[in-house]
């Protein structure tokens, strides 16, 4: 045998070894380790890395000794694919022969991760960049990063809620209450609302070459011969805000002014629209959000902004969530 041939053989053995050891790990990722079945929040998604025995598993497949004949079985029938130990073992001879009969892939099919996962059907959420839920029929698509969230300057004492590679930070505990959009009075309109004419009191504001009409705390852009309500553009400054505007605490030294889902900072020039800051608590949310279940928590989502339902002194409120990606 030439040395080249020997090396080739060794490479083949190593290849088979990698297949038989690595492949089942991947396929078996959802079970034994019991992760799907442990129940209880403390262990969620914490499947231990299976320290599977590194015994080689040749790819020669042998049919199961008990063919499953029960089509109505709740799990397709018990699959026994390995040779069972026949005698009570002494400490070190137990299963040395067991894995040699285990087929590499047979009988695992029911437990494979479903291949439909990539269909992105149903009600999975499209995580691609998107703007707020403005009524698309008006075809208004203005993105001013209004749903971007500034990080909180306050330290979080509560651990984040972890889900899907993200950490969701909040200062207060989750307290569910249903999302019911709030209306700030007869002159306030939700995003996407269309009006044919504007009041004469409306003023024009230009931000990044986009002309806005501002009236009574509401921003409009021209469309279809009328005006459609849009989000408050970050950077816009107005002299006055409606009397329903509330002061909300951002941190020990900063307050924002909150009206109609928009956040303002007060300056000598007036009130300037700013992005939301994580940790800020608001009493109400406007129309345009949607409830989304993220693990065990139901947040209200506006574009990139997530609000966690909370309760403060017995009153239902929302805290802006700080979302960080796991490193």
């Amino acid at each position: 045998m030439t040395s080249n041939k020997i090396i080739k053989n060794i490479k083949s053995i190593i290849f088979i070894f990698s297949l038989t050891v690595v492949l089942p790990l991947g396929m078996n990722a959802q079970r034994m380790g019991h992760s799907a079945s442990r129940g209880g929040g403390g262990h969620s998604a914490s499947r231990p890395s299976t320290s599977r025995p590194t015994t080689s598993r040749p790819s020669t497949s042998k049919p199961s000794t008990r063919p499953s004949t029960n089509n109505r079985s709740i799990n397709g029938g018990h699959k026994k694919t390995t040779t069972r130990p026949s005698t009570r073992p002494s400490t070190n001879k137990a299963t040395t022969n067991r894995p040699t009969t285990r087929p590499t892939t047979n009988n695992k099919t029911t437990n494979k991760r479903p291949t439909t996962n990539n269909k992105n059907k149903g009600n999975k959420i499209d995580n691609s960049k998107r703007n707020i839920n403005i009524d698309n029929s008006k075809n208004i698509n203005i993105n001013r990063n209004n749903t971007r969230v500034n990080a909180s300057s306050r330290h979080y004492t509560r651990p984040p809620y972890r889900y899907g590679g993200h950490r969701y930070y909040c200062h207060r505990p989750y307290f569910y209450h249903p999302y019911r959009p709030f209306y700030w009075g007869p002159v306030w309109h939700p995003w996407g609302f269309f009006v044919a004419t504007l009041a004469t009191t409306a003023i024009i504001i230009s931000i990044e070459n986009q002309k806005y009409h501002f009236d009574s705390g509401v921003y409009y852009v021209s469309s279809d011969g009328g005006y459609t309500v849009v989000q408050a553009p970050v950077g816009a400054t107005v002299k006055t805000l409606p009397k329903e505007t509330e002061k909300v605490v951002v941190n020990d030294t900063t307050n924002n002014y909150y009206y109609g889902g928009a956040y303002y900072e007060k300056s000598d020039e007036g009130y300037t629209v700013v992005p939301a800051t994580a940790g800020t608590i608001v009493p109400n949310l406007p129309e345009g959000g949607e409830e989304v279940k993220i693990g065990d928590i139901t947040y209200v989502q506006f574009g990139d902004t997530y609000y966690q339902p909370i309760q403060v002194d017995g009153k239902n409120m929302y805290e802006i969530v700080e979302v960080k990606e796991d490193e």
């Binding site: 380790g33 209880g40 089509n71 709740i74 799990n75 026994k80």
Partner: protein
Amino acid sequence: MKNYSLFFALLFSICITAQTKKIDPTAILILDHMSDVIGELESCSFSLSSSFDSKDPDYGLIKKFITSDIIFSGPNKMLSHIEGNNGKKGFWYNGEQVAYYSYTENNYVLIEAPENTIATIDKLHFDYGIQFPAADFFYPAFTDDLLNDFQNIQYIGKVAIENEECFHIKAENDEMIVQYWVSNNAYRTPKKYLIIYKEKNNSHYEATFSNWQLNPKVPESIFEFTPPENAKKIKILAKKK
């Protein structure tokens, strides 16, 4: 020469690992019997009462409890109600989709589901982090998986649990110790199990089965979800792939 060294190193590690496994055939026999019966069932229902250690952000380490009522029928029907610290939830799987309803929040989501119950449980867990207590027992290759994942599986003996004689089996690997108690009856139904997580400060997860019904007649209609009045359909975020 370098290639030979690698080969022998691999061979050596294989032999060493194989030799350190301790598998008790009596334990395997009992677990196989249990899985045989489960695999032959066309339907079943049971209740599960479980408890686990949890690190609470406000109170530190505390014990939490969950009760579940589960019904399986045929290869693709499941109804599960789970109640615990996070409220009460129901899951209706009709072979095509899963309706996940929160009684506590009165909202629900609909999730497209694979064609059988086990694949659906897997999907819900992997895509949405949803856990089904005791689902492991219903995986068709339960014993094989145990043999693969644990270095030691031992039969300890008989013990009475809630006035029922049970076989006590222990399985252990580097990360956890799992103990099973299987009823010493004709059906070898699982009675109780306990998981000790070595790498999580020996925290415990414990669950006890009750109200086993084997092959009950289950109307198909119970697996269809009808949203209660005022229940709100919401979205669900899948975990990042």
